[in-house]
Symmetry: C3
Subunit: 682 residues, 3 copies
Amino acid sequence: MFRKLSKIFYGGDYNPDQWDEEIWEEDIKLMKILRVNAVTLPVFSWAKLQPSEDKFDFSWLDKVINLLSKNNIDIIMATPTAAQPPWMSKKYPEMLVTDIKGNKHKHGRRVNFCPNNSDYRRLSRLIAEKMAERYKDLPNLIMWHINNEYGTYCYCDNCAKEFRIWLKERYGSLEELNKRWYTNFWGHTYYNWEEIEVPSYLTELAPSWIGKKEMTIFQSMVIDYSRFMSDSILDCFRNEAEVIKKYTPDIPITTNFMGSHKPLNYFKWAKYIDVISWDNYPTNNLPISSAAMRHDLMRGLKGGQPFFLMEQASNQVNWEPQNALKRPGVVRLLSYQAVAHGGDSVLFFQWRQSRGACEKFHSAMIPHAGHLNTRTGRELIKLGEELEKLGGKIVGSRIKSKVAMMIDWENWWALECSTGPNEDLKYLNQLEKYYRAFYDLNISVDIINPSYDLSGYDIIVAPVLYMVKEDAVKSIESFVKDGGTFITTFLSGMVDENDLIILGGYPGAFRKILGLWVEEIDALYSDMSNTIVIKEKIPEMIKKEYECRLICDVIHTEGAKTLAVFGKDYYKGYPSLTENTYGKGKAVYVATDPEDSFIKDLIRHYCNEKAINSFIKPCRGVEITQRIKGDKTFTFILNHNNEKITLTLPEGMYSNLLTGEVVSGRIIIQPREVYILENLQI
Amino acid sequence: MFRKLSKIFYGGDYNPDQWDEEIWEEDIKLMKILRVNAVTLPVFSWAKLQPSEDKFDFSWLDKVINLLSKNNIDIIMATPTAAQPPWMSKKYPEMLVTDIKGNKHKHGRRVNFCPNNSDYRRLSRLIAEKMAERYKDLPNLIMWHINNEYGTYCYCDNCAKEFRIWLKERYGSLEELNKRWYTNFWGHTYYNWEEIEVPSYLTELAPSWIGKKEMTIFQSMVIDYSRFMSDSILDCFRNEAEVIKKYTPDIPITTNFMGSHKPLNYFKWAKYIDVISWDNYPTNNLPISSAAMRHDLMRGLKGGQPFFLMEQASNQVNWEPQNALKRPGVVRLLSYQAVAHGGDSVLFFQWRQSRGACEKFHSAMIPHAGHLNTRTGRELIKLGEELEKLGGKIVGSRIKSKVAMMIDWENWWALECSTGPNEDLKYLNQLEKYYRAFYDLNISVDIINPSYDLSGYDIIVAPVLYMVKEDAVKSIESFVKDGGTFITTFLSGMVDENDLIILGGYPGAFRKILGLWVEEIDALYSDMSNTIVIKEKIPEMIKKEYECRLICDVIHTEGAKTLAVFGKDYYKGYPSLTENTYGKGKAVYVATDPEDSFIKDLIRHYCNEKAINSFIKPCRGVEITQRIKGDKTFTFILNHNNEKITLTLPEGMYSNLLTGEVVSGRIIIQPREVYILENLQI
Amino acid sequence: MFRKLSKIFYGGDYNPDQWDEEIWEEDIKLMKILRVNAVTLPVFSWAKLQPSEDKFDFSWLDKVINLLSKNNIDIIMATPTAAQPPWMSKKYPEMLVTDIKGNKHKHGRRVNFCPNNSDYRRLSRLIAEKMAERYKDLPNLIMWHINNEYGTYCYCDNCAKEFRIWLKERYGSLEELNKRWYTNFWGHTYYNWEEIEVPSYLTELAPSWIGKKEMTIFQSMVIDYSRFMSDSILDCFRNEAEVIKKYTPDIPITTNFMGSHKPLNYFKWAKYIDVISWDNYPTNNLPISSAAMRHDLMRGLKGGQPFFLMEQASNQVNWEPQNALKRPGVVRLLSYQAVAHGGDSVLFFQWRQSRGACEKFHSAMIPHAGHLNTRTGRELIKLGEELEKLGGKIVGSRIKSKVAMMIDWENWWALECSTGPNEDLKYLNQLEKYYRAFYDLNISVDIINPSYDLSGYDIIVAPVLYMVKEDAVKSIESFVKDGGTFITTFLSGMVDENDLIILGGYPGAFRKILGLWVEEIDALYSDMSNTIVIKEKIPEMIKKEYECRLICDVIHTEGAKTLAVFGKDYYKGYPSLTENTYGKGKAVYVATDPEDSFIKDLIRHYCNEKAINSFIKPCRGVEITQRIKGDKTFTFILNHNNEKITLTLPEGMYSNLLTGEVVSGRIIIQPREVYILENLQI
């Protein structure tokens, strides 16, 4: 459907309107030095493009676009609707957000619009249409980029009104809603739709009176409000996308995601987006796997389709408590990490570092010094040259995984708005722990929604899949029956889509497949731990005892085999790890939150069982992925270490696409160096 | 006046409206298995009972009541007024609370009504009357339970209006109020009642600019607002109680208290309540004495009259940061602890664990599994059998104490809204430290208000009795003159009921009786300590030096004997513990916040002096109390330890009421086991 | 212009209206015992003086003043405008503050008026005029004291209106404002003045989503709002001062400052104030240098003119988390510290300790005990006798410094509202570190604004002078060219007065004079450090390596000499300390945040180079300053230690003004003792 994207796009957000016109020519000159081949603009220029409701001024943008076009730089055209002009906020004050505390905001910041405001909808569609109409025939227009980093929830009266309509549609009747929301609890039975308020600090949310977590009284209402808000904001996107498609049906449309961004259900959004793109800002104090997991999530949103790395920082950011510099080689390494995980672009925020406002300390491709004779400048030049050399070779190639990890936004919302059993439990932490085990083994993981097709996978991991829908349960059952290995944990299978407990004994939806009953769920105080004592001989489990924390289930097996037990407390000797044979497959239950090494050993065990291996023997700090296109396999080897490492390649000859060298056997990889190997046919 | 309560009530909050009717029969079946003999309902069913202002629907409740009655289950009838229906909030928005930040709330949570709202008063009285009228002749109606866990303060304009009326009544004139509130400070002199605002974040409260504590500018206003709010909420209770009494003058009325709940002056409330009842939710990380003290407080509210344990959890709760399971035997042990301290019921929140909303992770008598074949189920069955066997034997028996500890809500409010001298000072902490000393010695303590009759006691302990009224001072003076021992601490006797310093030298009201003058009050930084060095030979003080923290007074004795001095700083050698002979008694002053062992040794010393002994030699983790009825003494021995212990009973033969065994001499008590011994006449 | 102030004023804030008239005579009696010669009143008596808009009542004040006058006690006459009467708040609710969250306040606290409210302006001027008219001829009226501790910002609509007017005046056109505020960032381009909102939590401020610091989106707007608010509040002061001057042109006017109080640009205020006065409340856990620096700042505000110590506490305060007592001798020592740094008064808050309200735990000259037979009482009596003996000898004398430290409020605002690079960076911390180095060496420092005349100094220190204006840059350049030593640090010289980066390479404004280019600015995580490795032989640098934290610049010298390098990370070997010869002088750059000993050694080095020496060899805990008047030099020696110390005086004979003794050679100074030495001519 779309024009072929035929190279790795290299460039970034370009905000020429922050600068005098004189500097634009200088920009182009520097872009050419860097081999920049694409820029995104004009992300925040609504006020400049539309000085008043009836006045538009595209002249300056035309000039910039001409300059870019003349210089063969492709354009990702952004609608500027993430920040409405001050005049618009003044004229339509209802457009502004009401926050969770009930405060109506005034003009300020960005993404400060009520997603259900009709004037916002009308005016954002209008500017999008004006742009589409004007620029539809640009030969270097490669993509539309709608808005920027969507995600602000609103709690205004108009949203309340729309919420009630949304609920009416979802539930049909108040009887049904009362039942699903469990409103007889605390006397909340509704007799009229108008009685429903949005869940805010003025209604159903309250700061916890003991712990750190907020108390939510009606989980189901809060989860529905997240669904509704995610949908409302998606409607803003679709509202613009729709009008743009009328003019440029063949140009792909994106909006820049933020990785694991809780407010928006990206899996639902993905259906309406042509190319997933996202902004990757890993900080120096995060494990490398953290960005890897988010890349895989982005790739997973549309079933493996390559994504765009829309933003990253060339050096430090401004919003960390301490904004550390990226160390030498890191910006290049992280750029290739994106490609290694399925990215087809290496784009930055932003082109030229702002002189003022809150991002003046956020690095850019061109720093305040104004030239490229800097450490980062030299790294970017090298990167530009390499990407140009790689051309379109890798673009469009896919990653094949035998393992998938389930992530579900609605589960995330549900899990973390529950009061109890343990406020220290965070969904992302659990996901990252299991992801990291595969990552450290260099085993590729697809990230999928529970509703996705499971065929083709050997192992499915679903940590803390607390809320689960019936079709997903069925699909998991089939998967196991057919021989797959399903690994899940404590708290899984407990509630339906309204956060209502599946009665009769935990883990509700998964009781049969897991072959066990969880009688009690213990929450450990933060300074407490228990141990997992291995009972069955599993060669990969190299310790006899592992530490665990957070949650310990008290389990009775109902067919499952006990692989390990707890080592302490009154449930000492009760199962902490079980495996149930179900059909031709296995369902594995981890009844607590183990230390990392346990998960790593466990994962190694089940991968071995399925003969899922890494390309070469895993080596600490070395990341390896493979992208495949037709009969070509591209192997990425990234040395994240500060020291050089020696690896032995599997038999065969390889071409290192970054250098043109042919390599084989033992290779030495310098600190923070990257290899992209193509198997040579011999 | 009331029908005799002739057994230990066993059961809990029953919310059948959260469940389909089909399940009600199952409920009864399970209640019979458990020997449940009483349930509380319908606590949160206002919306179900009154779908609109002119429509009432008792049909479903009638059905439930019939079922219960038919099965000989007694009923504690709750008015559902803790949560007004959504339609009511919508129709009368002024009914909703305005919080301390000045934000008007919308419908949500519970106890979200302005206590001074006339529509709330009218409608809550109406539903109470409807229920009283309808159910007045129920033979199994044993008690009324008004509302639920009262305690939300409101700061709305209507409350401000009522506050001014309350003040006018209290002070008569603005001149008097200006004087008592010390309003010439910071130019707050009022010339018109309308000028008085309620103390909120918009007026006289401010987050501390340095420490963690809130700053209150006008303590007297804040204390009066607490008095007013406690009274206003009490008026809500009395408003319903009054109308109910018209129909069932002989049925006792209660409302469920929350132990040490700061917003409401329970001593004042107690006058209007027939039977004190309360909700006990001790968490695993609290000392056992913590619940014991609150039981004693509840018993003390009405001068020793047995109280009802209205709610406890059968297992974990949902509102802790980490909600740990109750360990095996603990729910039974804590149930008996309540009885041991004067409780005549063992009731739970709630009968059946909710499927949804914020309490879905709060345990209940029947868990989500739906049956009793669980660890907790078996413990509850055993408990039910035992309580049935005990019958009415213990019911109505009393505890006799030679020691009383003073607690005063107004002092609590005053102490903790003062700015200075040390924000780490918490009233409850101080109370618990002194209480724990007696508790560890197995010496029974009555908890009384300073205004209560002191005759009959040998020792009165009054930690940090900062605000003290004249009649209390006189009563304490008489007590000591007549031979009693009065033990108090730093900061006591300082201010009158308007938080105005009693001039002329600290400790103001107690200077004469204590025989000393406190020249200076030092506050220690959190990482600082001093020592208490013992000067006089006191056999019970087994260490030469004890550590102390928080506050150190600089004292000049005026007649008192110096028993110990400070060991450090420029007031080294100044008294830290004094004893003054006054009339036939003694007044003891602890001038700092000592480590626990000091208080324990001190208390042992004064108990020995008065020959106040425990039943048997105290043993760590073993709690012993005695209830007396006529000539019968029931001795409770609770082993809170995880290990068995061996005790030697005083001479005599005893019947263990839980087993029927006759025991004497050395006995072995298993971990978490309970003995209830009746002395056998030989 | 003013009447000569001929003695050290001793006394304090006198609030007789908090007490019954009977006590006033007692007050006078005690004042005479203490040798009190001046009191400040009536600071908070607006409501008492003006019971309604058309009614004034000065009768009680007249009586008090008569009593004081009869007893030869001088009067610092305060306008009571820091707390408007409740009736005024009620009548003119717009007078009340709207806070940064957008909440309109009601009557309460103090300094709770909108500085731009016209009714406040009119009525505060009126009461000031009434007082000036009435008391203008009082012979013992020595000073006017307007308001009290100004500093509350308001964010109301009226302030927004006035802000726009202020901006119009500052920038002339919206084009200019858009450019200076960099509003094309995030689409904030204004087309109408009305579109500008004040920067609050409802607009451009947001709690940080990761760190602890607030995020400000438009730094320039926030800085301008601070400028505007500081000016608006100054206008309140000037509004009263103006009308007072009409009546008493020869009486000096002051308002009590709060040392390093961020909201008000005291350097700008100083121009409109006759005598600087301030309130000094150092807590026990601060280094002694902390108060010293603030004294020097106060002295510096008007170019060295002696200031008034308007308030201090005789003992503990009430607003600390833990309010420790002042240790013996400390109140006297701190009083002399004020004089030693250029203070001409020793005044206290307050005369008599309040009975009620939030300052009841704040010490006063007369405690609740009501007499002076206390430790503090005896210390104050001694102090009063000494000050009486000193008479006017020292009054008006000046301090001569060869070193100046630059402090700039606008830089403070700018630095701390930036997002990035390191939220742990606090301006005051940096200033205190450098100040302390000189303090420990007993080298006197003047504190100046960058715009002040630099001639006469040998060394200028300007830590983190991030925002710098062109004239200051020129003045610093001339200073160095002419032979001065200029010492500055990381982040200096970066932005212009609108927080716009000076492009082309850091440190922008100072690049030439420092002879270096900062390519990158690394921010260190809180648990990280680097080292400074000394490369050049500098005898005063006694360690080879010093630790550093917070920020590390990556530097390329452009003429500067590298004195030290970093010891770790990829910029190991890059300069961490440089010195550039520029004209006849030197410009020194500290590229990181070093441990204290580094700064001390560095400062010693440059002081030695300039032959700037202390009076005698520095001794830990001993503070030494000199005040000069005509040919007389007064040397203050303060022993802050808890132990006695031995010093050897420079050759000569000295008279100790506190004792009359003549001393020379070796002297022993007792713990917390003070010497004030006058050189004797021999």
